[in-house]
């Protein structure tokens, strides 16, 4: 007699694609419904209440403004997306490395963390002009500002994650005579992944903010630049279009990271909870 006389489950790492698409459809239709209702109500309100376009342009006006300059908006979106992505990758990579060093060296953690936390409280709008002076007027300085923002969340979460392994599992690795490298890659890093993704999700939204703020300070391209110039000329529908595009970009990036999390951390308990 043993527990295994019970029927074994058919373990599924990933459900078939058709099931998952159905799942997504089922979970997102309420949000889609609300969105459609919101846009319809907005359109109706602008006309019925006579709201001035520079206060709140109607969705149709925003769409028209966007369609009038598709190539321009696409090019500027691409530039901002590139700045955000590059800054996100560089900042996250540096943050991960430093977080790892902190997790392994109490001296480094105690020595550097107070300054890092202090630096983290500097508003990005205050530091952006300085970084732009350092890194020049090109795209590089926008990437640097974004990297600056992406750095802290991952450094802190990486450190916390690497320290959050189960002590009994560590004993198991000790008994099995695991090398420090094996312990890192087969235990501490996988244990840290849920934390790493908390940091990455923060970073990915910060990265779009960082790129646009840097463009506000100085730029001749990018969505931030579009927002600044349309603001000066009071071309509000186009400003709204640029703003919505930047929001869309943030959401898209977030979804990419969330998808990566599902791929890399499928075991994590929070993954299986609704909605």
């Amino acid at each position: 007699m043993s527990d295994s006389t019970l029927a074994a489950p058919v373990p599924r790492r990933t459900a078939p694609l058709s099931h998952r698409l159905l799942d997504v459809a089922e979970r997102s239709w309420p949000a889609v419904l609300i969105l459609v209702a919101l846009i319809a109500g907005w359109e109706w309100a602008c006309a019925a209440l006579g709201i001035k376009p520079y206060i709140l342009p109607a969705p149709s006006a925003i769409l028209t403004a966007a369609l009038n300059d598709v190539p321009g908006l696409a090019r500027n979106s691409g530039i901002t997306a590139w700045e955000a992505t590059a800054g996100f990758v560089i900042g996250s990579a540096l943050g991960a490395l430093l977080g790892t060093a902190f997790a392994y060296s109490r001296f480094l953690a105690r020595g550097f963390l107070p300054f890092i936390i202090a630096a983290n409280t500097i508003p990005v709008v205050a530091i952006a002009p300085i970084i732009i002076i350092w890194f020049g007027h090109g795209i590089g300085s926008k990437i640097a500002v974004t990297a600056f923002l992406s750095f802290f969340p991952l450094a802190l979460n990486m450190m916390k994650g690497l320290q959050s392994y189960d002590r009994t599992v560590a004993d198991v690795f000790h008994i099995a005579a695991a090398s420090p490298l094996q312990t890192f890659f087969k235990m501490r890093l996988p244990s840290a992944l849920p934390y790493v993704f908390v940091g990455l999700k923060l970073n990915v939204t910060f990265s779009v903010i960082g790129a646009i703020v840097a463009e506000f300070v100085q730029a001749d391209r990018g969505l931030g630049f579009v927002i600044m110039t349309t603001y000066r000329t009071m071309a509000m529908p186009k400003l709204w279009a640029a703003m919505l595009l930047s929001a869309l970009m943030g959401i898209l990036f977030f979804l990419v990271v969330a998808m990566l999390e599902r791929i890399f951390v499928p075991w994590h308990a929070s993954m299986s909870t609704d909605p």
């Binding site: 043993s2 527990d3 295994s4 004993d171 198991v172 000790h174 099995a176 695991a178 087969k186 994590h268």
Partner: protein, 260 residues
Amino acid sequence: MAEALSAEVRDLSLVYRGRGRDVIALSEVSLGIAQGEFVSLIGPSGCGKSTLLRVLGDLLTPTQGTVSIKGRTPRAERLDRRIGFVFQEAALLEWRSVLDNIALPLELRGASRRDREARARALIELVGLTGFEAAWPRQLSGGMRQRAAIARALSTEPDLLLLDEPFGALDQITRDRLNMELARIHEVTGVSVVLVTHSIREAVLLSDRIVVMTPRPGRIERILDDPLPRPRSLGTRLLPAYEDLVRAGSRELEKGYANV
């Protein structure tokens, strides 16, 4: 003792150094474990059972005294992966399948994928987890998790299997089953076993000898022989000699609790 010794502890003392005050967890403990023997450690909480087990597994270094396993230091044995350890929690890696969890020590040793899978499959059968090779740990019940932990501890064919209250968190029926599995595994593999338990019935059911310990400082109070016939089964519990041993063991235990 005529038989070959699997492990020998001589005048072992262990002191946990704390801020201000030290805790003497073990004081001059001596114990020999014969090859293939099944020894249980029992005694009130804080008498140093886990500490003794952790010294044997090279998770702690003695303050004084010597420990040898197969004539070598625990460290040498551990580095050769000759020690298996099972904890109260299964401590499985949640991101690995049951099969890959059981194969972990072999993977760390550098065994080829084919070898470690073959061995892991054999162990899965030994502990009765057939059909769950690809399951995630969180899909397993507590008893099944402990089966997987036992299989993992056996994967490198250890000389010595150390178990620290492995069934403490399980319900009685699951516990009975796993007791029998452990008895069978001990029978077929011939591994020497040291089991820490709080249950005198479990100790009597499984052991060749029962080491009763007392706290403050941790010492061996008495060692009881358990000559019940082998192989052991749940039917062993119906023997009058079983009840006699349980009574004798309880009496010894009460002495330990008297000075708690």
